[in-house]
């Protein structure tokens, strides 16, 4: 699935909020298709803003952004038809059941009712939610909720999937379940852009990592490259050294 054209490409992405200064101060990204790419940084570094811009949920002031071959500023509909978004900000409905959520979002993805039902069945099976399918999501555990969230984001088999801190607040077992699901996706050719505060998560899942701090890219490379560039033993140390040096 890896082609020459990056699945996500940005250059000089800038955005500022009135009164709060620059949230993004020139972000450059190039994510090859079919890879898992990590966006790593502390709170307020600009990770979520970057994802929201790429997912057409927020606007940007200047720079360029392309997702799945579509211009984010000019072809929002084209981008929306090719992406999935999961994580802390794009939620599922807590009152509806898992199945009702999947069927509703499948219908909003322009599937016919029967097609939507079949897709819901398939995803419930794949994410081990068959038993809980007709229960209200409110009663789900954190891990089940996150799996449903992931299932919803995969309804249209997106080319690019944005995962915004997909394991924040999860217990270790649920975290491993989500990791397995992400790896499976990458194996099937989906490009994944993942934001995280957990270095271990980035180390385990990502083929490349972009470290951001205060709206700027401070380092980019494979986990191994980032570790060796500072002579550190693990990513934690590398991250501290790099962000302090920036």
């Amino acid at each position: 699935m890896i082609t020459d054209e990056p699945a996500i490409w940005t250059q000089g992405l800038r955005k500022s909020y009135p009164g709060r200064g620059a949230a993004l101060d020139g972000i450059d990204l190039a994510v090859p298709a079919g890879t898992v790419h990590g966006l790593l940084g502390p709170n307020g570094a600009g990770k979520t803003t970057t994802v929201r811009i790429l997912a057409t949920l927020a606007s940007f002031d200047s720079g360029q952004a392309w997702v799945a071959g579509r211009n984010v500023a000019r072809d929002r509909a084209g981008v929306r038809a090719r992406i999935g978004i999961a994580g802390q900000y794009a939620a599922v409905d807590g009152v509806l059941s898992g199945r009702q959520n999947l069927e509703m979002f499948a219908r909003l993805h322009r599937m016919r009712a029967r097609e939507a039902r079949a897709r819901a069945d398939e995803l419930l099976e794949r994410f081990d939610l068959v038993e809980a399918a007709s229960r209200p999501v409110r009663g789900y555990s954190g891990g089940m909720r996150r799996r449903l969230d992931l299932a919803v984001s995969l309804i249209r088999s997106p080319r690019v999937l944005f995962l915004d801190e997909p394991t924040t607040g999860l217990d270790p077992r649920s975290r491993i379940e989500v990791w397995d699901a992400v790896r499976e996706l990458a194996d099937s050719g989906t490009t994944v852009l993942l934001t995280t505060q957990y270095l271990e998560e980035a180390d385990r899942l990502c083929s490349r990592i972009t470290m951001v701090d205060r709206g700027r890219v401070v380092a980019e490379g494979t986990p191994a490259e980032l570790k060796s560039s500072v002579g550190g033993r693990d990513l934690d140390e590398a991250f501290l050294l790099i962000t302090e040096g920036a």
């Binding site: 038809a81 794009a90 009152v95 509806l96 009702q100 509703m104 909003l108 249209r156």
Partner: protein, 276 residues
């Protein structure tokens, strides 16, 4: 690969907007099925109002209006139908504010769906809910001795005006839900519905109000709907003395249309700005 990821586009934009609106409306209706207490809560207000205003204060209001209590209740019920439509604003505002906070609205914004359907689904659900509420209220009213005197045509026309009013208030609620900081704020401001619902020709005829209140009460969109429906039901009415009261039927159509024409584009603009 591309056949799987490209959404198959069949039908026009309008067809899709309609389908999307229905899917979103169904979500809100499913909420009511799963949480029927919300519908009961909304119905509690007019039912209590019939008991309180109709029977506790009814005789006294009747004396003030120089009619028997039973005739006051006939005057009151169309007022309460419209009042119920106004109280619906609260639910709409809270529900939209919850969707902004909870992230469901963001999810919908990231989908290749019709943007207007994200909000119009709520309005459609409100309209369907209004039909259910009005049916229950009509049945209850009949139980209390209220009746329409001018036949089925009049009843249908009156219900149509009430539903139109609710649709307008639904768009007010949607706009407010997108503007407030969260569902808690929406609950705090709920008391503001009271003057809207009661400084109108709903419970007390406007000519029994002090002059400075009578004027805004007469121009309250609720008043036009209430006076028009009283006419269509053939219920007890107080002869109108103002221009707006004399043109109640026209105004009962114009007010809601004007409200929607203002609130819908503002809500859409606000939805687009949510992501800034």
């Amino acid at each position: 690969m591309s056949t799987l990821t490209e959404p198959t586009v069949h039908g026009s934009r309008i067809t899709w907007a309609t389908v999307d609106t229905w899917v979103v409306a169904k979500r809100h209706l499913l909420h009511l099925v799963r949480r029927p207490d919300e519908l009961l809560g909304t119905l509690m207000i007019p039912v209590m109002a019939v008991a309180m205003f109709g029977f506790v204060f009814g005789e006294a209001f009747g004396v003030a209006m120089d009619v028997p209590g039973s005739e006051y209740r006939e005057f009151l019920l169309p007022g309460l139908f419209a009042l119920t439509m106004a109280f619906g604003i609260g639910n709409t505002t809270i529900s939209v504010a919850e969707d902004v906070r909870g992230g469901v609205l963001d999810r919908m914004r990231s989908l290749p769906m019709s943007p207007v359907a994200v909000l119009a689904g709520r309005a459609l659900a409100d309209v369907i809910l209004a039909v259910v509420e009005l049916s229950i209220l009509l049945a209850l009213g009949t139980l209390f001795g209220w009746q329409a005197h001018l036949g089925v045509g009049g009843v249908i026309a009156a219900l149509g005006l009430l539903v139109l009013l609710r649709m307008a208030f639904s768009w007010v609620g949607i706009l407010l839900g997108l503007l407030v900081s969260g569902p808690e704020a929406a609950m705090k401001y709920f008391a503001l519905v009271f003057p809207l619902a009661m400084v109108a020709d709903t419970i007390v005829p406007t000519d029994l109000m002090p002059g400075w209140l009578a004027l805004p009460a007469a121009w309250n969109p609720l008043s036009s709907t209430v006076i028009a429906t009283r006419e269509l039901f053939g219920n007890t009415a107080v002869p109108a003395t103002t221009w707006v009261g004399e043109h109640a039927l026209t105004m009962a159509v114009l007010w809601p249309v004007a409200i929607i024409a203002i609130c819908l584009p503002l809500a859409m603009a606000r939805l687009r700005r949510l992501g800034r």
